[in-house]
């Protein structure tokens, strides 16, 4: 099971030999006799943004939760680099009205980020003025920004985001995805995210994993957008969304976060692997 493997991995010391921060190998989750996800393999490496896209019920959240050890897996395994600081932005979080909290306190409830780091993160996501507010009084978009701020204030090695910009206005959406991409550059962290915003995602992602219970297709956004599986899942117009932002995607990033030309970036090692062609993982 996933958790046992995590412990095993932590016991054996340094980062994964293949350099992955977190990797799923043939992962499967069964609930009520139904495979929610099956035979899913993917890896996130430092400085890489991996985005999971897929229709409703494709198992996106299940995959994310299984990779975080929140969901018991029934097949395959999850490996995580030891000593990894994870920042997690869940799809939703309800805070009981009976809990007296401020935004500032919520920021340091789990990690012990410094006051300066908290202020900076709140400012970065655009809610610096709400530090002393009660989180229960925030709007959906503000709260989503708060969750993102909380995760990044930890200076994570791996940032895991489940629909991080739901409820955020369109302007804010682009700004927040820019922020995530910038954090990847600054911290060199790996990013694993689930999103519905195809056009924004496609512009700022290194690897797209198209999920529908299993991995339909994967690779750099340019490749995925043109693949027949992607078009079948999202319709022919989905491919056009890429064109809108394509001009922004003029560079890639090496493992240390440095900028490299796009052509060099597409070596096989940076691809997520599907169940179908695991050889890519080596």
């Amino acid at each position: 099971m996933a958790l046992q493997h995590l412990t095993l991995q932590e016991a054996t010391g340094p980062a994964r030999p293949d350099g992955a921060l977190v990797a799923a190998h043939g992962l499967g989750v069964v609930r009520a006799g139904r495979w929610l996800i099956r035979d899913v393999s993917l890896a996130v490496r430092p400085g890489e943004i991996v985005t999971i896209v897929g229709p409703n019920g494709a198992g996106k959240t299940t995959l994310l939760r299984a990779m975080l050890g929140l969901e018991r897996s029934d097949a395959g395994r999850v490996e995580r680099a030891s000593g990894l600081t994870t920042g997690y932005v869940p799809q939703r979080l309800a805070i009981d009205p009976a809990m007296p909290l401020t935004v500032r306190r919520l920021m340091t409830l789990i990690g012990r980020s410094s006051r300066a780091a908290v202020d900076r993160a709140l400012y970065q996501v655009g809610i610096g003025h709400l530090a002393e507010a009660a989180p229960q009084t925030l709007s959906g978009g503000e709260f989503q920004r708060l969750l993102l701020a909380r995760a990044i204030s930890r200076r994570p090695g791996l940032l895991v985001l489940d629909e991080p910009v739901q409820g955020v206005d369109v302007q804010g959406e682009v700004a927040l995805y820019d922020l995530i991409a910038r954090l990847r550059d600054d911290l060199g962290c790996g990013v694993l995210l689930v999103s519905h915003d195809l056009h924004v995602v496609m512009a700022r992602t290194d690897t797209v994993v198209c999920l529908n219970g299993h991995v339909c297709c994967h690779g750099p956004p340019e490749t995925v957008a043109e693949s027949p599986e992607y078009r079948r899942l999202f319709g022919p117009r989905a491919a056009e969304t890429l064109a809108v932002y394509r001009h922004r995607h003029d560079h890639g990033h090496a493992a240390d976060g440095s900028v490299v030309p796009l052509a060099q970036r597409q070596e096989p090692a940076r691809k997520a692997t599907t169940g179908g062609n695991r050889d890519d993982a080596r």
Partner: protein, 268 residues
Amino acid sequence: MLDDFFVRAVAAGIGVALVTGPLGCFVVWRRMAFFGDTMAHAALLGVALGIFLSVNLTVGVFAVMVAVAVALSLLQRQHQLPSDALLGILAHATLSLGLVLIALMTWVRVDLMGYLFGDILAVSADDVMAIWIGGLAILAGVCVIWRRLLADTVASDVASAEGLSPERVRLAFMVLLAATIAIAMKLVGILLITALLIIPAATARRFARTPEAMAVLAAGIGAGAVAGGLFGSLHLDTPAGPSIVVAALCLFLLSLAAGLGRPRAREG
């Protein structure tokens, strides 16, 4: 000083209130009111089994409550019935089992009302000592797990994903809650313990800006309710346990009235 039954009752009651305040906050935050109630109901089965097996009653009560908590977590793994239905089954089944078992033991006379509604005026000096030592131990335990339990209470999945292991903290909290109910039983009885957990915490909410402040305030409000209830009971010749709960209710209503005076748009 502890010679006087009334002084002993106040000392015991305040000792219990100082523990039920902070734990009650978590019961409120985690929406475990019905869970607390179920544990308390199970206490009567613990009493019955304790008498039947001739073991220390507090030990019997504690053991049965832990068993019920474990049974609940096992039952929750089948995702067919909701938790509150399971709790309802366990609460009333254990209470009834306790009552039936006590009735079957015709050779002992059990003061049932004392267990159901408390018998604080009968506490001995030893009881007071036991309550304070046990209470301080429980409070120490709460302090040790405070930060992790709070993280788990507010954002369980996030805490778990980011490397905290909530299972152990949750288990520790359950054990502390069971211990609290075991020592609070004598005070207000198993049917009223939940009131002592929830009402002071709910009263404190309006005045607290941080979780810690709410816990401390709840302890103070609980102590006030115990003192007020016992004095009322002495002067009006009313039963002590229910009088304490009525005093707590009065404080809660006062807090509601105080809150009406200052509507809050957005804190901070």
